[in-house]
Amino acid sequence: MTFLRLETITKRFGALAAVSDFALDVAQGEFVSLLGPSGCGKSTLLRIVAGLEFPDRGRVLLEGQDITQVPAHKRPVNMVFQRVTLFPHLNVGENVAFGLRLQRVGKSEISARIRAVLELVRMPGFEQRAVQTLSGGQAQRVALARAIVSRPKVLLLDEPLSALDLQIRRELQVELREIHAELGGTFLYVTHDQEEAMTMSDRVVVMRDGRIIQAGTPVELYTAPASVFVASFVGSSNVWPGTLVQSGLAQPGPPGAGPAEPDSAPSGLVRHDSTTIVDIGDRKIGAGKVSGAKPGDQVWVVLRAESVGLSERGPDRAAEDPASLSGVVADVRFAGPLVHYKVRAGERHFTVSRPSRGGRVLHSGQEVIASWRPEDAIVLAEESETDSELPGATSPPGREGVG
């Protein structure tokens, strides 16, 4: 029996469907994140599980029991909200004890459990403190303590870290993961920050417009996105529309990225006839496995910024390797451990992220060859016109001319 099951949940606000036919099974002890842009319905879904909203259709089943219509105060489910919702008229200890007092737990047991849970959230000894004296991070820790002290069956977290500074956020992300491991509880986490979802979760559910687009482990979502939306939402990618010329078995390329041998055959295609080739308008490039498309179909090529290697282009090197593009460095952004380059190839701009390796960075104007392993370029069948409005999608030069 599934621990937490959400069956075809639909919720409308007026004419707008916030959640449509949402179905999800969560195993006990899992850390699942709902990831998506603002307005995709993830918070509404969380509130439905909490009992603060009721779905128009569908069921919520906890350990087999239908709790869809059970009001929030009767559910063994607790939530940590995005804003600090500590009760201002109670101190830290009284806040944490709130749920326990309602359950008529004995005084000494309450003190013991408060002490234990405050230790767990790294806030020992804060019982007497006034809520107004806490920083944002401290307040959310107390809110977390308050939510877990009564040992709920499911813990819901609605973007609890989004209002905090970056450093505190990173700290708490790690701690949340540790707390989850220590408690062994079932966590349902909502966020729009893909890095947060990926680093903390056992599974990530990507949502858009009230529906599930893809659900899987972080690695699955990263290496095998099922749609351009997922590919561009998770990680920083270059997305190029094109036409599939040849669908091939991608063979592992030579270790490390590099340009083709100077003495390769003129067409360049003979050596790589088992690689996928996509015509992206001004070039034909080499790519990886194709799913759901045949030659002639419109496809998207998704190439992650960190999968592309850059090497200096010299006059004696020809860029014949299909899994490469020659271009010029247009912009350099040094971000500490990484450097982000904007490379211009013809009318196309794309992003390349490389490790900074002690500050040896290329400079603007340098001529480079960008290359990748063919299987790192993911080819996805085109779904709809709206895909071209997605972040990371670049407009093709002369799209109308693509044969």
């Binding site: 929030a72 607790n78 919702t85 709130f98 308050r146």
Partner: protein, 260 residues
């Protein structure tokens, strides 16, 4: 080089304005301690006779008790009704909500005279004898908008997420109200209640039309002043002034709690 702009005589002018405003009040307080029954200078010496008089005079003491009774009853009724109304209106969407809110605000805009005459006509039509209860009814109508205004604006600013948190942690709607909402909005409600009490205590116009055999203090003072030159009025005024000051500071303290 610093230049200072000083309006000449500004200090003197300010003093004059304050004197104009407060001199009559100062005189009242001064003459409440006068040994003789004179209301004009010269001042004959300090005495507490007028204070003794009003505390022993049955007219004044019973009037004060009546005012107290009306004030406290009004306070309790308005606090309960006003809070319920504010809760209902801020939390629920129902047809006519805006209209109801305007209706609740309306009596504050009506002249006291208006309300007084209307109430008198109403009670006479229904053959309801005039008494402290009819006075209380009038005071409730008169003060409810002020309390409702305060409660409504406080509840609008109240973070609903706090209540949702409480419910999520296991509090039923009633428990949520009692343990979370009420303690948090209590300072504002208390300030509102103090305003209601002081409005009722001072009220003359509506009271004049709805009063029966037992008068409230303002009515008694009003009648006394019309009839004779009675210095005990000074003593009463001085006491009411002292009471008002206590109230003002009380209200300020509760509103200060709300500011955080």
């Amino acid at each position: 080089m610093r230049r200072r702009f000083k309006v000449p005589w500004l200090g003197a002018y300010t003093l004059l304005v304050f004197a104009f405003l407060f001199a009559p009040i100062a005189l009242v307080v001064l003459f409440s301690f006068n040994k003789t029954a004179s209301l004009t200078f010269p001042f004959h010496g300090f005495s507490l006779r007028w204070y003794r008089y009003i505390f022993t005079s049955p007219t004044y003491t019973s009037a004060a008790l009546s005012s107290l009774q009306v004030g406290l009853t009004t306070l309790v009724v308005v606090a309960i009704v006003g809070t319920m109304a504010a809760l209902g209106i801020t939390r629920n969407e129902f047809p006519g909500r805006r209209v109801l809110r305007s209706v609740l605000f309306a009596p504050a805009a009506l002249p006291g005279l208006f309300t007084g005459i209307a109430l008198l006509t109403f009670f006479v039509q229904l053959h309801v004898p005039l008494s402290l209860w009819t006075v209380t009814a009038g005071h409730v109508i008169y003060t409810l908008p002020y309390f409702f205004l305060v409660a409504n604006s406080r509840l609008n600013r109240f973070d609903v997420l706090l209540e949702e948190s409480a419910r999520d942690l296991g509090a039923s709607p009633w428990q949520t109200f009692r343990k979370v909402t009420l303690p948090i909005i209590a300072p504002t409600l208390i300030a509102g209640a103090l305003v209601v009490f002081s409005l009722s205590w001072d009220e003359v116009y509506i009271t004049f039309f709805t009063v029966g055999s037992r008068s409230t203090l303002p009515i008694v003072v009003y009648s006394t002043v019309r009839q004779a030159v009675d210095p005990s009025v000074n003593a009463i005024s001085a006491l009411l002034l002292a009471g008002s000051l206590v109230f003002i500071f009380g209200i300020r303290r509760f509103l200060a709690d709300v500011q955080q």
